[in-house]
Amino acid sequence: MPEPVLAPPVLTLAGVAKSFALTAALADVSLELMPGEIHALVGENGAGKSTLIKIMTGVHQPDEGTIRLAGTAVTITDTQAAQRLGIAAIYQEPMVFPDLDVAENIFISHRDQGLLMDWRRLHEAASSQIARLGVTLDVRRAASGLTLAEQQTVEIARAISLDVKVLIMDEPTASLSAHEVARLMAIARTLKDQGVAVLYITHRLEEVFELADRVTVLRDGRHISTRPITEVTPDALVRDMVGRAVDHFVPKAAAGPHGELVLRVRGLAREGVFTGVGFDLHAGEVLCFSGLVGSRRTDIGLALFGIQPATTGTIELDGRAVLIESPEAAMRHGIAYVSEDRRKLGLAMALPITANISLASLRRLLGKLGLIDRRAELAMAEKHKERLNIRTHSVALEVGKLSGGNQQKVMLAKWLETEPRLLIFDEPTRGIDVGAKTEVHAIINDLAAQGVAIIVISSDLPEVMALADRVLVMREGRQMGIFAIEDATPEGIMSLATGERPADAA
């Protein structure tokens, strides 16, 4: 699919950079979108795709770099400005107003309707927008009854009704069925034929090769490559995504013999979420769950911890089948789950460090009357402050006032205090600085050495390679395979996770 030689790009980003606090989310990223092209944007989790979209739609302002629209430099101050400039985005989770009908949803951002609604005109205009997409949909239906795919259609119609020049589709197919995916792709092609530039973000490489004219790879916030789809192979694409000269990985020394079998999972499934999960885990062993966003790794952790119990399958602990239907039950069995979301699920931010550390093991601090032994609680907090190197002048400080890395350590301390046999970490180093990350990794290795069985759910491939004894790869709720670390390569994991290689190849 050769590019039209003379058509000027509709949108040009040059040297765009963006940092949050001390982390660079994007550095020197350039991107050109041509009218009438479908441009795929791929990269691992955390590669900077979302930040890039947010800059293009005016949610974030770039620290450096320029944005040109049809050759003219523009500043996109907010999402409305983006809309006025003809840049729109649709997301995995469409935003529709359930109580309004399809037509009202399509024209929700139009303000030139006068005092009274001309319903007939509204419905006719809506129908013609829908027709432009080459699909059929009754514009009088209430949005609440629409399927996810139909809601997306409404969002796209809304976008093109605003005379869109650039349409960003952010993982639009992540929750669609095969049939709906085909329909969405047809819509994307229709828009392309009408001269719209479509930026298509996806984790599914097969979609990239089926749909895109060109493909751009981001990694670690940097632009890696932009190539016509005809000049790139799936292997090359995966290599670009994983990048980082492979010899930079320091895989763990081949694991020595591990202890007793702690956990045996067979045929574990939760209806509509994940299915066919089975693995063994020994004392002192680290098993990493790898996969892309939406691969349902976290849901397995939540099932093992009883937050969202599995609906079928067996869990055996120390050779005995157990039912885990609540976090309390999981904790009684010696299971701990360190959540990925410190703020919402992990810590009571307004309470002091002491109260957060003792929370999961409060029972041990209670005297005869159910009163908390405050001296013991303080000693508990001080012990972990020393051991985990939590940097604070006082353990009476509110947890919310600590840095991310120190909050992570407090959360860890809370669970270490329960003396778990099976410890599940969900993204243990997300959003913390490099120093704290190294410390957390050392703690995890330490715990494994002490014989704790460990599961680490991580989107960070280098982290997986550094920590794991074995790697379990998930894709869209299915277990794709388990590697021993000696046999694992970032490319191998990635190609299973993206579906480039089928499950049976593992």
């Binding site: 949050f20 919402k344 699920l345 810590l347 309470l351 109260a355 409060l362 029972r363 209670l366 159910g370």
Partner: protein, 320 residues
């Protein structure tokens, strides 16, 4: 926590100012007799406010307390008219309080409805039952010993209701600020999800609080009946607003997770003394209510203003 200490300090200052001004207006003001009398006139609300403190810190609310007080009073009068001896009717009414609280707890913790909605419904429901039980009558003629419980001092100068208040205050103080249960109340008020992910049995804690709230309300309804020696369908009508005012003025966050019983005690003392002072200065009842309302608005507004001012002076802190 530091914010709260400052809040309580502010309350203490307001209280001191009120007392100084009141004393200047009347030499009788600071006598023990007057102070006990002040308490006695609102004692039922005060007792319920103590329990309400825990409910609100837990991140919930119980709007049905005043209606439960009314229902308890009317149920007592109704049973008494049926010929049930007062000594038997009292435990029956307390059991009714437990039952009513359990009913609230069921809808909130098992069905998962918001407590605001459930207890608003029961504000109407309990009141309706109370009116059905006594219709338009006023019921009086309770035994002497029962009325004496509400009116006569039973320990030194203290009547029963004040003793109940003192005992309940100490118990709840220990439960909320020293026990494992109280810790869970705070954590849930902070974030119910964090509590659940830490193995806290969130529904059980909430249920216990609502059951206790129903029980305390029925006890307060009985104390009220004994104090006024009469029962009507509109007993304690609208009390829930005064009760919630006392709690919020005490620095308890309406969003849960923050506040102390000491703060609520201070706010109770302020409300009582302020009302007494205004009465001494011949300010009408309606205006008194207005002043208390103003205080409440300030109590919610000031911490929020301070916080947003602080946020805007710290660039970047609003970013997620």
């Amino acid at each position: 926590m530091r914010r709260l200490v400052r809040w309580e300090l502010l309350l203490l200052v307001i209280l001191a100012v009120t007392i100084v001004i009141n004393s200047a207006m009347s030499p009788m003001f600071l006598t023990i007799g007057n102070q006990i009398n002040l308490f006695q006139l609102s004692i039922e609300k005060i007792i319920v406010a103590l329990m309400m403190t825990l409910v609100i810190i837990n991140g919930e609310i119980d709007l049905s307390v005043a209606s439960m007080m009314g229902l308890a009073a009317c149920a007592f009068g109704w049973l008494f008219q049926l010929g049930v001896p007062a000594g038997v009717a009292i435990p029956m009414v307390l059991a009714l309080g437990l039952l009513g609280g359990a009913f609230n707890a069921f809808w909130i913790t098992v069905i998962g409805m918001p407590s605001l909605v459930v207890t608003l419904a029961m504000l109407i429901g309990f009141r309706g039952m109370a009116r059905i039980l006594v219709e338009d009558r006023g019921i009086t003629g309770f035994p002497e010993w029962f009325n004496a419980l509400g009116q006569q001092p039973i320990l030194g100068p203290l009547p029963l209701a004040l003793l109940v208040f003192a005992v309940l205050f100490v118990i709840l103080l220990v439960v909320l600020h020293r026990s494992g249960f109280g810790r869970k109340v705070y954590v849930i008020g902070n974030s119910a999800e964090v509590a659940r992910y830490s193995g806290v049995a969130v529904p059980r804690v909430k249920a216990l609080l609502f059951i206790a709230s129903g029980f305390v309300a029925s006890l307060a309804g009985l104390l009220y009946t004994a104090r006024v020696s009469a029962v009507r369908g509109d007993v304690a009508l609208g009390f829930e607003l005064d009760i919630i005012t006392m709690v919020l003025l005490g620095g308890v966050s309406i969003f849960g997770g923050k506040g102390t019983l000491w703060g609520v005690l201070l706010s109770i003392l302020i409300v009582l003394n302020l009302r007494n002072g205004m009465a001494l200065a011949n300010i009408t009842g309606h205006l008194q209510t207005g002043v208390i309302g103003l205080l409440l608005i300030l109590s919610v507004l000031v911490p929020n203003l301070v916080q947003s001012a602080r946020l805007s002076f710290r660039p970047g802190s609003a970013a997620r």
